[in-house]
Amino acid sequence: MREKSNTSRTFLLPLAVGVAAVTLWWLLCTSGTWSPTQFPAPREVWAGFGEEFQQGRLLHDIGASLFRVGTGFGLAVLLGVPLGLWLGSSALARLALLPWINFFRCLSPLAWIGFAILWFGIGHKSAIFLIFMATFFPLVLSVVAAVASIPTVYFRVAHDHGFGSAEMLWRVTLPAIMPQLITALRVVAGVAWVVVVAAEMTGAQEGLGYAVWDARNGLRPDLLAVEMIVIGSIGVALDWLLVQLTKIRSVRWGYER
C-alpha cells in the first residue's frame, strides 16, 4: 500500500514540476518578455521535433551518439575494471602507475580533441577515443579505491575455506566491490554522455553533439532546444538502466546497511 503510493509519487511529483515549468515557459513566451529569436516558444520546439523526426535526422543522430558512447564506455569498462582489480591487488603496481592514471584523469577530455582528429579523423573513431579517455581513468581509480576498502576478514574467510587465487578474485574481490562498481559505472556513464556531445561538436558530422552545433550555426534556437531535451532525456534513461543493476539481490547489502 505504502509502496504503491511511493511509486506513484516518484512519477507524479517530477511530472507536476515538468508541467509547471513548461507552463511558465509558455507564459513567458506569450507575454512577449523574450523575443522568439532568442528564446523559442514551446509550440516552435514541438514543431522542431516534428521536422527533425520526419527528416530522419533525429533518430540517426541518437543512434550515432549511443553507438559511440556504448563503444567507448564499453571499452573503458572492459579494460578499466581488470586493470583496477590488478592495481588493487598489487602495491608495487599501484606505486608505479597510480600517479600516471591520476595525471590522465585530470586532463579534460576536451584537451584531446585536437589529437583525436589528427589521429582518427572526423567520425566514430575520434569520438569513441575521447569517450574512452574521459571514462577509463576515473573508472580505474574507482575500482582501485573499492578494492582497497574490502575488509580483510572476507579474504581470511575465503582462505579458511580453501579458495584459490582465481576464486578469490571472482568470488570475493569482484562481488565485494560490486555496489561501489555500480555507483562508479553510473557516474562514468554520465561523464561519457556529456563528453560525446562535446566530442561531436568538432569531430563529427552526425550525432546529437553535431546537431547542437549545426542548430547553433543555422541560428535555429528551436532545434537547439529539441536536441537539448533529447540529450537530457537519454542521459536520464541511461542512468535509469544502470540503476536497475542496484536491484540485483546479491548487491543490495551495499545500499541497505
Binding site: P151, V153, Y154, R156, V157, A158, H159, D160, H161, G162, V172, P175, A176, M178, R249, S250, V251, R252, W253, G254, E256, R257
Partner: protein, 238 residues
C-alpha cells in the same frame, strides 16, 4: 587423529622491535574447550592467528592436526551470499550435491534458522548472523574452531543466549575449541580450561580448569568461583 590437535612449543612472535608473544607453551586436547583471556592488546588475536596458520611464529613451533575454522568477531559472513550460501562454503568439499544439500538443511535446523536460509546477512539480526557463522564453522569435517571474541559485538542478553546456543551446538557436534574473549564470565561459563595471559609480551600467567558439565548457569557457584579466581589473577579483585 592426535589426542592433542593443537600444540604450541616455546612460541614467540614479534613485530619489529615489539615482542607480542614470548616463550608460550600450550597444548590443547581433542574436544577440549579452552578460553584465552588477558588484558586488552596483550596478543590474544596474534595467538589466534598463529593457531590458525594465518601468521607464523618468529620462534618456536606450532603444530596443528585437523581442519581449522575461525569464527570472527563480526562481519565474517560474506554479505553477497545468503545465509544458506554462506553455510555452504563450509560444505563445498562435500560430494555429491545431494549430500551437501542434506547437511545444509541439517545445519539450518540445528541453528533454528531454516526460515531464513535465503536471507542475506544484512537482513538478519546480530545474533542470527553469529549463529550462521558458527554453523558455517561447524559445517563439513572441521575439527578445530577458533573463535575471536565472537559475541563481543552483541548486546548483553543476546550474548547470554549465544553462550547457551554454543554449548548446545557443541554438545551435538563436539569440536576442539579455542575461544578468545575479554569477557571473564563468558570464559568461566563456557570453558573446560581458562588460560590467563600476561601483559605484552604475552605468556601464560595462569591456567584454571573448570570441571563442570556444560551447559552451565552463569550464577552456578563454580562459575562464580572461577570468575573470581580469574579476576583476582588479573588484579581486578582482591
Amino acid at each position: 587423529m592426535s589426542d592433542k590437535p593443537l600444540r604450541l612449543h616455546n612460541v614467540s612472535r614479534s613485530f619489529g622491535e615489539v615482542a607480542v608473544i614470548q616463550g608460550l607453551n600450550l597444548e590443547i586436547g581433542h574436544g577440549e574447550f579452552v578460553a584465552i583471556v588477558g588484558p586488552s592488546g596483550c596478543g590474544k588475536t596474534t595467538l589466534l592467528n598463529l593457531l590458525s596458520g594465518f601468521d607464523k611464529p618468529t620462534a618456536g613451533t606450532v603444530e596443528r592436526f585437523g581442519q581449522v575454522r575461525t569464527v570472527y568477531q563480526q562481519g565474517g559472513l560474506l554479505p553477497w551470499l545468503t545465509a544458506a550460501q554462506n553455510i555452504s562454503l563450509g560444505l563445498r568439499h562435500i560430494m555429491p550435491k545431494a549430500k551437501q544439500d542434506q547437511q545444509l538443511q541439517d545445519l539450518l535446523n540445528l541453528i533454528r534458522l531454516d526460515g531464513f536460509a535465503h536471507h542475506y546477512p544484512h537482513q538478519l539480526s546480530g545474533g542470527m548472523r553469529q549463529r550462521v557463522e558458527i554453523a558455517r564453522a561447524l559445517a563439513g569435517d572441521s575439527d578445530i574452531l577458533l573463535m575471536d571474541e565472537p559475541f563481543s559485538s552483541l548486546d548483553y542478553l543476546t550474548r547470554l543466549r549465544m553462550r547457551q546456543e554454543l554449548a548446545r551446538l557443541l554438545a551435538l557436534r563436539p569440536r576442539t575449541v579455542v575461544f578468545v574473549t575479554h569477557d571473564i564470565e563468558e570464559a568461566a561459563q563456557l570453558a573446560d580450561r581458562v588460560v590467563v595471559l600476561t601483559e605484552r609480551p604475552a605468556h601464560i600467567q595462569d591456567t584454571l580448569a573448570i570441571e563442570l558439565p556444560r551447559p552451565r548457569n552463569l550464577t552456578d557457584p563454580a562459575v562464580v568461583h572461577a570468575t573470581h579466581h580469574i579476576l583476582a589473577k588479573l588484579g581486578l579483585e582482591d
